[in-house]
């Protein structure tokens, strides 16, 4: 299972990209923002695409009563996510090594993938909850209180994935480099599972 072990190790290590590259990116363009404002969401915090984007997004959001974009210390996720990813990388590399030396079954690779997928879905769920809170828990003294056509108060939850028109803004929310690296890494662990299975049967 040498080949499968190596693929498993590479796959797990690709998750380290999350420490360097953003997981998600949300861009806000508008007629008066030909260069859209943007935020890069890292597992360790949120940063502006350009130096003052966060400040300027907060400045605009105060009109509709949204909270300011959370700092690192405002959300437990920014502490927990890096720890979880770190642990998962360590486990993945360990399983890969053990597989390489034939100490564990190739089924462990799939096990790691399933665990990582569950954690990933939980992460997305949590992210979506934050977006809902951010977009709906509005300051009652907001400068602009807008209503939907049906009379309900307008909320401003950005899309979890994809494009949405929100007032004068075109909002795009898409996975970024870190997410793609994680995705490729996770796929590699599945490949490792099948390669391991083949190597096992060939023995």
């Amino acid at each position: 299972m040498k080949k499968a072990g190596i693929i498993m190790i590479i796959g797990s290590l690709l998750l380290l990209g999350l420490f360097k590259f953003p997981l998600w990116n949300i861009m806000l363009g508008a007629p008066q923002y030909p260069d859209p404002l943007g935020m890069d969401i890292y597992i360790e915090g949120i940063q502006g695409v350009e130096e003052f984007d966060i400040q300027n997004i907060d400045g605009l959001n105060h009109y509709i009563g949204m909270k300011t974009i959370p700092k690192v210390e405002d959300m437990w996720e920014f502490e927990v996510f890096p720890t979880v990813i770190g642990i998962m990388v360590a486990i993945g590399v360990l399983i890969g090594l053990l597989g390489f030396f034939g100490k564990v079954s190739y089924k462990w690779f799939l096990g790691w993938f399933v665990l990582m997928s569950v954690l990933g879905i939980m992460g997305m769920y949590d992210f979506n909850l934050w977006l809902i809170d951010y977009g709906t828990d509005l300051d009652p003294k907001a400068i602009m209180k807008l209503l939907n056509p049906d009379g309900t108060p307008m909320t401003y939850k950005p899309p979890l994935l994809g494009y949405q028109k929100m007032l004068n803004f075109d909002v795009d929310s898409w996975p970024a480099t870190g997410a793609y690296m994680m995705f490729v890494g996770m796929m590699l662990t599945v490949v490792a599972f099948f390669v391991g299975k083949k190597e096992y049967k060939a023995k």
Binding site: E51, F52, I143
Partner: protein
């Protein structure tokens, strides 16, 4: 069948030909010549919404004292850049920070007459770092940074009067040069005007430029005979190290110059070897003389200008530096003095001459080496006209003023009297084309046209007379510029556009050499203004006797504080206003009722100060003058002004009920 179709086709073509011939005929008859639709001129100057011009054109504001920034080929006005004149629109010269910029040895001078912009160069090629421009009336040179498009420095020129043969730069921006149009007594003294001849001096000033900061300092002043020094031009490439100045009134007349200064058959172009003089002064040459002139610098981090009076200047007597100065005889009161991109040809535009005189730099050096002199003037050798002549452009027009060059070996000379631009071949002196202009062109401009590398796509005629070119606006009209396409054999008129003030000269540069580094905001974190409030917690109002300092900030869409009480009649209130925005194109204005000076327009991250001296008891509004946001109208506040003897304490607030 086939034959028939061909016949029809041929007759159609003939008809089309006839029609277009007729069109051409009609257009020639029309003033302005070329109809946009017939020549697709409209297409060539049309910059579609959202697209950008190809060139920045900086056109001197003339008697407005400012610098107009236009886009080419559209001719759209992009900005009026305040330089020498107060500008209430943004508080330039009114705010406490910028008032020192207009300080001079004559005190505060709120205006000037700006003439000849020149863009900085490296190796003779435009580099887009800075643009320099001269104040003609109260002799000054300004340096404008092309990142902020802001006047960053102004230096006054002592011993000068009518700073006209300025501000031209050497090909590595080593020097910006300022020559005096009017000769004057040096030092100034109470004497009879009749004693002008032999006693007045003409100072040619070489100002060194620090290559890192752009800071200017007078390196030396060459004290020349009392002629009028009209225009000047640096040598390029092979003639780098020399500078050429046209003169008129070599007669040294002091009255009725239109007659008395037009008697000599030839005046001079003064050729100055500044490298020789630089060596001379670097080795301790020259004489330091007392002077009094202002050096004003706007600091980008404190957003505040300082004015320093300098008390000494180094003068050089041309007689003390052998080989430094020669006179090139040039017919009839030459105006422009222009050097072609190779540096070989020096064109003297003798404004009362029927011909254009072109001197050869190589022949000039040869004549100097072989001492082919034709006498001297005040000890300065005069070279023999015939020995240095490269050629003559015969009968090109009337009243040549200025010549500009393209990148294909052609020259373009403006003719004021015959109101035309004439294209001729450098080297053969053959006239290639002439086009009328409307009316009476002064200078012309080709982007990079006075550098080693012109961008020979457009020629702009800077016309002096407008008359009927636009809808009339009473007796006072704008000036008019005309844009020509010069890519073909013939110049083609594309566009008329109005210009502010009276552009004398202009300088243009491709947009991509400047636009990418254009500043969007000032970083608040780098704001070192003494009275800046970077945190809301620092907002306060302090009294110091009759002076009250308001430490205020603003961000969409409020002032902090927006209610102030405790001000009294007779106080001098300093509003120090910091713009907390860090977003592109979100300036805020600051205006207070009855301000006797101006308003402020504060850029993101900057701090500016307006002084207000309330004269009436009451509650007076302040507000933002720049429509900054959807809640711009809400961006307002009140200042309560109490009687002088009131004992109401200072207080301030924001958002209190």
């Amino acid at each position: 069948m086939m034959k028939k179709s061909i016949n029809i086709l041929i007759s159609l073509i003939m008809v089309a030909g006839l029609v277009s011939c007729n069109d051409g005929g009609n257009q020639k008859g029309k003033k302005g010549g070329q109809g946009g639709l017939a020549t697709n001129a409209a297409e060539r100057v049309y910059v579609a919404p959202g697209e950008l011009d190809e060139f920045y054109a900086f056109m001197s504001g003339g008697f407005s004292g400012q610098l107009g920034v236009y886009g080419l080929p559209s001719g759209r006005l992009l900005k009026v850049l305040p330089v020498f004149s107060q500008n209430p629109e943004n508080g330039w010269g009114y705010s406490e920070e910028t008032k020192p910029m207009l300080n001079t040895s004559y005190g505060f001078v709120p205006w000037d007459d700006s003439h000849h912009p020149d863009i900085s160069q490296t190796n003779g090629v435009l580099d887009g770092r800075w643009i320099f421009i001269n104040g003609n009336n109260t002799p000054r040179i300004a340096r404008i940074g092309l990142e902020s498009f802001k006047t960053e420095e102004i230096i006054e020129i002592p011993n000068s009067a009518g700073n006209h043969s300025s501000s031209f730069i050497t090909e590595n921006t080593e020097y910006v040069v300022a020559g005096t149009r009017f000769s004057v007594p040096v030092p100034q003294t109470d004497m009879s005007i009749k004693d002008y001849k032999g006693n007045f001096k003409g100072a040619l000033t070489f100002i060194s430029v620090d290559q890192e900061t752009g800071r200017m300092g007078i390196k030396f002043q060459l004290m020349m005979p009392g002629f009028n020094y009209d225009l000047s031009h640096p040598g390029r490439d092979k003639s780098h190290g020399w500078f050429f100045f046209t003169t008129y009134n070599t007669e040294e007349a002091h009255s009725l110059l239109e007659v008395n200064a037009s008697q000599n058959d030839k005046d001079f172009i003064a050729a100055v070897n500044w490298k020789v003089i630089e060596d001379y002064v670097n080795n301790g040459g020259g004489k330091k003389v007392p002077a009094n002139y202002a050096h004003n610098i706007l600091d980008e981090h404190t957003h505040t200008a300082t004015s320093t009076m300098l008390k000494e200047v180094l003068t050089v007597n041309p007689m003390d530096v052998p080989g430094a100065v020669y006179f090139l005889p040039t017919p009839k009161s030459p105006h422009g003095c222009d050097v072609d991109p190779t540096g070989e040809y020096i064109v003297g535009n003798g404004k009362l001459s029927a011909d254009l005189t072109v001197h050869s730099f190589t022949k000039m050096l040869d004549a100097i080496e072989n001492k082919k002199f034709d006498g001297e003037a005040y000890g300065i050798p005069i070279l023999k006209f015939e020995d240095i002549l490269a050629g003559v452009v015969k009968q090109p027009g009337l009243g040549p003023l200025h010549t500009e060059f393209d990148d294909k070996g052609n020259a373009y000379t403006t003719f004021f009297i015959s109101s035309e631009v004439v294209k001729w071949k450098v080297g053969t002196w053959e006239v290639l084309d002439r086009q009328p202009v409307f009316y009476s062109v002064g200078h012309g401009m080709i982007p990079g046209g006075n550098s080693r590398k012109p961008f020979g796509k457009y020629f702009v005629a800077l016309n002096k007379i407008t008359k009927d070119r636009y809808l009339p606006t009473g007796p006072e009209l704008t000036q008019s510029a005309q844009l020509f396409d010069i890519t073909g054999d013939k110049m083609e008129l594309l566009l008329d556009f109005p210009t502010i003030g009276e552009p004398h000269y202009a300088a243009a540069i491709p947009g991509d050499l400047v636009a990418p580094k254009s500043r969007k905001i000032y970083k608040l974190a780098e704001n070192k203004h003494k009275y800046a409030v970077l945190q809301d917690s620092e907002v306060r109002v302090e009294r110091d006797g009759k002076e009250v300092h308001v430490y205020m900030n603003m961000i969409r869409s409020h002032f902090n504080p927006d209610n102030i009480e405790g001000i009294k009649v007779g106080d001098k209130v300093f509003f120090h206003v910091t713009n907390h925005e860090q977003d592109f194109d979100v300036p805020h204005g600051f205006a207070v009722i009855g301000a006797n000076n101006a308003e402020l327009l504060v850029m993101p991250g900057a701090t500016e100060t307006l002084v207000w001296e309330p004269k009436q008891v009451g509650v007076w509004p302040i507000y933002c003058t720049d429509f900054c946001s959807a809640l711009h109208q809400e961006m307002q506040g009140y200042v309560r002004v109490s009687p002088a003897d009131s004992n109401i304490e200072l207080s301030w607030s924001l958002g209190e009920d």
